[in-house]
Symmetry: D2
Amino acid sequence: MVLLEFSMTPLDKGESVSQYVGRSLEIIDASGLDYRLNPMGTVLEGEWDEVMAVVRQCFEKMQSDCGRITCSIKIDYRKGGKGRLDSKIASIESKLGKKLKT
Amino acid sequence: MVLLEFSMTPLDKGESVSQYVGRSLEIIDASGLDYRLNPMGTVLEGEWDEVMAVVRQCFEKMQSDCGRITCSIKIDYRKGGKGRLDSKIASIESKLGKKLKT
Amino acid sequence: MVLLEFSMTPLDKGESVSQYVGRSLEIIDASGLDYRLNPMGTVLEGEWDEVMAVVRQCFEKMQSDCGRITCSIKIDYRKGGKGRLDSKIASIESKLGKKLKT
Amino acid sequence: MVLLEFSMTPLDKGESVSQYVGRSLEIIDASGLDYRLNPMGTVLEGEWDEVMAVVRQCFEKMQSDCGRITCSIKIDYRKGGKGRLDSKIASIESKLGKKLKT
C-alpha cells in the first residue's frame, strides 16, 4: 500500500481554480479509495495502480478543457503499511504526548 | 500570506522516522503560526519569512544528528489571502455541496 | 505530451543510495523515451501512460528489496507541446539573450 | 551544503510563463551560486541561507506583479557534500559504466 498526495492545477484559467479542483475531488470521493483532503492537496491510500488510476482520471478530466496543467505527486510506500492515513499522525501525537492541529 | 506545506526526512536513520518528524512538529507547534498536520506533511500559514524560519529551525535540529536529509516544500501564495488553511477546503466543499474527508 | 520529473529513494538503505538510483536510470535509459538526468531527478517526455509506466517499473524494481520508498513526481502538461525537454530551456535563454548553465 | 531544486510559476498570467521564469533565471545567474537549469526547474548549490535567499529574491520579484504564485522546492542535504551538482550524476554514470542524457 502507498500513500499518495497530489495536487493538480490548470495554469491557463486565472488565479481562481477551485472549480477545477472541485471536479477532481468529485472523482476522488467517488473512487472508493480512502483519502484526506488538506489545504494543499489530497492524500490517497491504496495500491500503486489504484491510486495512480485516480490521478489519471483527474488528469483526463482537466485535460479536456485546460491547455496547461501542473501536477505534483508525492508517494510514501511502506511494506505492509495499511491504515496509515490515520496511524502516521497518531504515531507522532503519541510520541509527543499531545494532540496536534490536523 | 502564503501557505507552505513541507515534509523533512532523514535518509540515514532507517525506515522508522517518526521520532525525527516528532521533533519538527514540536518546533512547529511552538512557533505560534497556524498549521495543519496531514499524513504526508504539515501546512503552515504566514508571511514568507515567518514560515521559512520555521522550516529552517526544523532543518537545523535535524542536521544536528542526521547525515543526509531530504525535504520537499510546496508554496501557494495568493495576494491578500488569509485564513486559507480552512477557506480553501470550505470553498471546494461549497462548490460540491457536500462535506469531504479531511 | 507531458514532461514528468521524478526522483525515487529508499529510506531504509542508509545515506548512499546511488546504487538504487542507478537501477532506475537503467530502466529509464532502456525505455525508449527521451529523458534528461539532473542532480535532483530525471525528466521524461512522453504521453501520460508512457511516462507513468516507466515510473511504475522503477517502483516495482525498488520495491523488490526496499521496505520504505519515497518518491516525488512533478508533471507539466501543455497541449500540443513536443520536444520541450530542449525548447523550454531554449525559450528562456532566448528571452535573456544568453546561455545559462544546464 | 545543500542542493535545492525549485520552480516558481504565476497562476494568473496564462499558459505562457517563460517571461516570468526568465526573470528568476536572471536573479539566479547573477547570484554567484553554482546552479543547473533543467526543463522542470533549477538546482542551486550552497548553504541553506544562501540558496533560500535566492529563492526569496525570485519570489519578491514575482510577487511584485503576480496575484497568485505556486512554488515547489526540493532539498537534498548531505553532510560535507560539495560539488554535488556534478558528482551525483558522475556517480550514477560510473555505476552504470556509461554516459546518460543530461
